[in-house]
Amino acid sequence: MTVRRGAVGAPAPRVEGLAKVTGSAAYAYDRPVADPVYACPVQATIARGRVVAIDGGAAAGVEGVLAVVTHREAARLADTADAELAVLQSDAVAFRGQFVGVVLAETPEAARQAAGLVRVEYDEEPHDTELRADRAGLYTPEQVNGGFAPDTDEGDVDAAMEAAAVTVDRIYTTPMLFNNPMEPHTSVAVWGDGGDEGGGGPGEARLTLYDSTQGAHVVRSTLARVFGLPPERVRVISPYVGGGFGSKGMPHAHNVLAGLAAMAVPGRPVKLALTRQQMFSLAGHRTPTIQRVRLGAGADGRLTAVAHEVVEHTSALKEFAEQTAVGARMMYAAPNRRTAHRLAALDVPVPSWMRAPGEAPGFFGLEVAMDELAQACGLDPVELRARNEPEVDPESGRPWSGRHLVRCLREGAARFGWEERAAVPGTRRAGRELVGLGVAASTYPYYRFPGSRAVVGYDGSGRYTVRIGAADIGTGAWTVLTQIAADALECPLGAVRVEIGDSELPPATVAGGSSGTASWGSAIVAACHAFRGAYGTEPPPGAEAGADMPRDPDAERFAMHSFGAQFAEVRVDADTGEIRVPRMLGVFSAGRIVNPRTARSQFIGGMTMGLSMALHERGVLDHRTGHVVNHDFAEYHIATHADVVDVDAVWLEEEDAHAGPLGARGIGEIGIVGAPAAIANAVHNATGVRVRDLPITPDLLLR
């Protein structure tokens, strides 16, 4: 069953727009709380070893300090299976910046001053933070993020490479990257015993968190397990979230630290916000990658072999294996295909999700290699990709639910003026500048996660409330879910109020994997239909009906992915090597677009993050200390207004008949995928210099 068109597809303005432009939207740290206590963490200054002594005496003497909590004082947690969340449970230090204590005080200044006075002595062990492809101890994880097999091997890649008329065999690298949502990770925690906002009976310990998260329910269930509470005694409230990009997708150590700290001052809310600098060791990051890509093809450019083998890091404390090579399994037709992931477990902070984990770094290697292959075959890069379109998913053999990559490429080429691209690199000049155009393909899987439930209630006077514990981290979910509900209820947009961002609401899966609209949206459609089925169009006030996200039989029968074509123009100053990107265009095929206004922003935002990844972002680990030395915006650069000139995103008008009731495949992540490769390929077209290591900086072009 599909939803009638009406609100869906219209560019409805953000429902929470007014709250955000007036400053009245209360993010986690902004919630007015009575009698707050301020927490400042103490972080390890070694990368590996043990804490042998802590002297909190001077800290405790600072006026206003209420408590100094270290692993000696902290309560024992009920579940420490997740080592990242086993905060202050032992004397072991697994990475530099790890929490070794926390100071609580009446003011943040006192807390911070006192945290600086906590003396920690360590028994330091030699640490190892350096990722190299030739290092000892690389291992194959059991699976990579998303539940995929780490390795695949089909046909005989080596023999096909031997026999191929044209080959590319290169190493591509991407650096350690940091999500850096603008809102720092925040948790305001209060323990109560009923009667407060958390509710519940007297005498029952209850934890309430005002949190900055992509999933109130996952924070609740995780913290309930860690603290040994039934889930209904943990409440997580997070209506407004200042971005996440994956880093707020799962609870991190600071959530547990806030909960532990608040135990020292029961009844008083403890405010903990990581500083920008602390985020670089405590809020997840994208692993650096070393990617060997091998392509073998006939002289006509038809691929016979694709191999994508990746070396990346994880933390010795907890494994996170980015699925960097998984996209290469389905992207192009080739009879011989191999992918592999090898990990080094290092003494580094715990890596995690960052926008399009897997595809974002993986499509730098793969799509620059495709450009190199086009060059080697003397083919236009658009044409090369068109020649390697697989009829069905090469990995599963399933038909595509809708694969329109070639349409995206051709449409983009026409709009972008691709015919102006110089066939010979380094030959187009405009004054002092070398001009180049580049293209790359993009893809992202369609995910719909089970576990969401929506409840629709009729408030009387023509007004409906739709409740679901979803999250809007800036994506537009709030608005889009309102549109979906209005159409499913066949009522005006203004008649629907959507409540999200609270674990007291019916459960919802995390805002991740570009899955929100499809997962929550289809639960809402089901709930609206259940409501109308039970009450018709004249419901009594107080009427209510709910539904779980329905199962989707098509998901097992089709290969479902979004696709896109990314185009970039670069201008390189011939004397200084300065790289500017005056134009970018993305053409996407993502199924139905529920709201063009919020969608365009999502695509363009993703592309800009890709530009930032191409030219600016690089976390620098000092291997002597294990420290991310450029841990702030002064030195970890992200794109600013001045870097972004004309970035545009368009999409194919379509509806994926197999992608649930909405026909939408998700748009949050695909924008970043392929953008760095398009820029790298444009830099090559402009200068003739092939850069295989991100970020692309002027010095690399002046050699």
């Binding site: 432009v21 007036t22 603008m182 200042g242 363009i604 915006f633 002064a634 992200i638 600013t640």
Partner: protein, 157 residues
């Protein structure tokens, strides 16, 4: 110490202010004005931008004591009564807001620009907003919003 200044047209005071306390902290935690955001606390992101005697400053870098006796205007004070400032309306209309965390600082900065420069060029806008980081929007729609607000303001001063 006691610190007093005018915020959005109202006299406000705060007691027991420590000398090192930032204007941002006093606004947010003592005066109940959490609109201005703290995203770096070291002058790199612009999320905390407010007007101090009409001049945009990073309030995380201004000591509260420096504001003594002066005029502060925050995002909460951009509207005239119930009427949003043109820049606020334009941000919503153009889709220049996503997560909204950078928005208050950007609004204050952009409001200042269009007050000073009636018809700013794109280069003027980029320059004026270069110190305000946004991780969500890709800036395109923010530019569009500033252009729209500036045009409206120029047409109906």
């Amino acid at each position: 110490m006691r610190v007093g200044f005018t915020v959005n047209g109202r006299e406000e005071t705060a007691d027991d202010v420590w000398e090192g306390e930032s204007l941002l902290y006093v606004l947010r935690e003592r005066m109940g004005l959490p609109g201005s955001k703290n995203a770096c606390e070291q002058g790199e992101c612009g999320s905390c931008t407010v007007l101090l005697d009409g001049v945009p400053v990073c309030s995380c870098l201004v000591a509260a004591g420096q504001a003594e006796g002066r005029r502060v205007r925050t995002v909460e004070g951009l509207a005239e009564g119930d009427r949003q400032a043109p820049i606020q309306e334009a941000f919503v209309e153009c889709g220049a807001v996503q997560c909204g965390f950078c928005t208050p600082g950007l609004l204050v900065q952009a409001h200042d620009l269009i007050e000073r420069v009636p018809r700013p060029s794109d280069a003027d806008i980029r320059e004026a907003l270069a110190g305000n980081l946004c991780r969500c929007t890709g800036y395109e729609k923010i530019l569009a919003a500033v252009r729209l607000a500036a045009n409206r303001r120029a047409e109906n001063p």
